[in-house]
Symmetry: C2
Subunit: 446 residues, 2 copies
């Protein structure tokens, strides 16, 4: 093992201190800081780690980052068995089963933990998968591909393009469904992006993440992944969706339409909720039940139309009392093509911003209105503020999520630079992101 | 009636067209636009109305704004009885009842509708109140004051100062509680602002709004107002709170702690939800039940400490894939004192923004992290991204709402310009906005 691998991800003071005591990833170490003592297995850090923390896995299974100073005492108290990472042999695949491709982009679900050492390997190979969730072999023939190893907060529109292209390759290979393993933080944005980029889908594309890493007893990684593979292999729909826990219990996985889903809790396993829509389907006891009637049907004969380009010249601005209208001017001055306003209530912003909005529209920038309420529909006909904003040229986004609207406009300006065509696309329901009416039961609001 | 009053709020083409047919507010008119015909009572427009819409109240009770062009045909088909607005005599007040001051700032709840004409009077006098909700006379002696007549999206931090000062005057007058009628759009922000501005409160201050105007059969105005007055008159707590429907039914009013409440639906009557906390109390069958044990007790002997100043040099920035770090630079370059980031998940942003955050902190700007998930607690110790951001100087906001954090920082920089004092105040629980632990039942997440 090279020195760099032995202390993977450590830099600066942390690296020097660990090197001095000849510690390697997987060793048992003790850190003494004043009256506090921490003991655990040294685990690697990501490429973006700072140089001030040493991260160890405590006996409880939790990881902790201890900030070190030149005064901190670090001792090596046990030599860890080094991570073997010898892939178990792939199980024999049943040729009668559907074929599912798993594309890994990173995130908690795509971390493979070595239980003896606590080391985390930010990757998800087919053999890793089978060793973590052997049941997958009963559902589908799995092919796994590592596309990125990224925390999802670092995923950008350029990565959406690569994800869409990777899906297109798998579809050309003739798979029956695709699973994309993704960090949960921005999974809703990426899933919405692929809903627009992958037109005329023949098979399902299911995003999946986990809120707790696979080395914690409460992990949702295995159940979410099983639900996602089952949906990819067998669901009757051909849309982009997100598979995550339906409730805090382990019994059911909700399959959300990608343009309607939002991460609504920082840590709970049922953090993902369909907003202004019912989930597409539900997986329970290894069986998938559709919850809506209106969906695009699976049809392997259909030909995918790949439109993977996105423009980054689209902004999302949340309105609040005291927001400076100069922010709107800034975006207009810097060549942005569209601004999604997260207004208040039915779709309002203060009249101090009207002049900036008027100027933006006159300069050819699309200004569109969603609501920061999250649930419900904007209605800009009820109050004067809404009517005035419409008269200025602001486009109401109906019951579309602000995040989805922003992604949709990034996609639109990846397809066209014609503003009238862009407006027309914005108002057209392309991937279930928009409906003219929402019934009471469909809102998902509790 | 003057010509201006006869067509109150109309300008330009709309005004000229209506003047030509000698229409006045309250008249029954018919508008024909192509194949579409609309009939209803002409109602006035606000001072910010555009010059392109004529607004009529349909027979259904709904208002509709019809955009007119030179081709639109408008006919006067009936002469309305003109609004009388003769205040009914004030009922005799029972001197044994508690005294409640109602301060009106505008919004749907503060609109008094003349049922014959559909005309809306944006004001709320004591006699208006009694004529709409006569039951109030059984709960308290009411004194009503019109402070503003504003749609709440136009309320700014300067208005929060005036509201806080108006409350202080009423407390000096010896009232037993205060009700603030407010538009629902930014009511959460204003209520949070007054939680910080009104320190050491002796009596309750209850914000109240309505999601449906009083002229609609489904209006929540009367029940919300009754619940708010009851809480102001009799609640055992002395905090700032928000009174709104608990569910879509008419039976119960939830009393939310002001720093924990958020408008989470564009139109439903139960749009307001306590986030990461239980509501303070509930009003049902004219009786108030406390739902929490930990609250500041009502004590008329306590002396209010008024700290009504706010700084507008605080920004709220929602992170999303593709966010330009130049926005952070812009705020730093324009003299902002603090930036609240609405990060993803447990409190993350992409590493493309790290350099801008580092620069902001080095320039003495407070950068604090909340989560766009809305529910849950940020935890910046779990992943490298969080630890790295903390190492750059970013302050985790625990379970504080992003909106409340933004308001709190505006208040903090109205009190001090010392950054260390500001940081200390930010991390201190001042008005129930922050807790070290949230139990499962308290989160309000469903």
């Amino acid at each position: 093992m090279s020195e760099a691998e032995a202390l993977s991800g450590y830099r600066g003071l942390a690296f020097e201190t660990l090197k001095k005591i000849e510690a390697e990833i997987g060793d048992l170490i003790r850190i003494t800081k004043g009256a506090q003592t921490y003991e655990g297995i040294l685990i690697p850090r990501s490429e973006y780690g700072d140089d001030k923390h040493v991260v160890i896995k405590l006996r409880s299974g939790y990881n902790i980052g201890v900030q070190i100073t030149p005064e901190t005492l670090i001792e090596k108290i046990g030599r860890g068995e080094k991570p073997a990472f010898v892939a178990p042999p792939l199980p024999e695949q049943n040729p009668a089963l559907p074929k599912v491709a798993i594309i890994s982009t990173g995130g908690t679900i795509a971390s493979r933990v070595d239980y003896r050492t606590g080391a985390v390997r930010p990757a998800l190979s087919a053999s890793d998968l089978y060793s973590v969730v052997p049941e997958l072999g009963n559902i589908a023939r799995i092919d796994a591909q590592i596309l990125f190893s990224l925390y999802s907060e670092n995923i950008t529109p350029a990565h959406w393009t690569k994800m869409a292209e990777a899906v297109a390759v798998q579809i050309a290979n003739g798979v029956d469904g695709i699973v994309i393993a993704h960090g949960t933080d921005t999974m809703g944005y990426s899933a919405a992006a692929l809903s627009f980029a992958l037109q005329n889908l023949p098979v399902p594309v299911i995003f999946v993440g986990s809120q707790r890493s696979a080395d914690r007893p409460s992990s949702d990684a295995a159940t979410n992944l099983t639900g996602a593979v089952l949906a990819a292999a067998k669901a009757p729909f051909a849309e982009v969706a997100v598979a995550m826990h339906e409730t805090v219990s382990d019994t059911a996985i909700a399959i959300h339409r990608a343009t309607r889903v939002r991460k609504c809790h920082t840590s709970r396993r049922d953090a993902f909720k369909s907003v202004n829509a019912k989930p597409l389907a539900k997986v329970e006891n290894n069986s998938l039940t559709m919850l809506v009637e209106d969906y695009r049907k699976r049809d392997p004969a259909r030909t995918l139309v790949l439109r993977p380009k996105f423009s980054e010249k689209v902004a999302l601005v949340k309105f609040y009392p005291g927001l400076s209208p100069a922010i709107i001017d800034w975006y207009v001055g810097n060549g942005y093509r569209a601004i999604v306003l997260e207004g208040t209530g039915l779709g309002h912003i203060g009249n101090s911003c009207f002049k900036a909005v008027k100027n933006a529209v006159e300069k050819g920038v699309i200004v569109a209105m969603a609501s920061q309420c999250v649930w419900g529909r904007v209605n800009m006909n009820v109050y004067d503020t809404g009517r005035d904003l419409q008269a200025l040229g602001v486009i109401p986004l109906e019951d579309m999520l602000a995040e989805t609207a922003m992604v949709k406009l990034m996609w639109i300006f990846g397809q066209t630079s014609d503003i009238e065509e862009a407006k027309c696309l914005l108002k057209t329901n392309i991937a279930g992101e928009l409906s003219q009416r929402t019934t009471y039961e469909e809102t998902g609001f509790q």
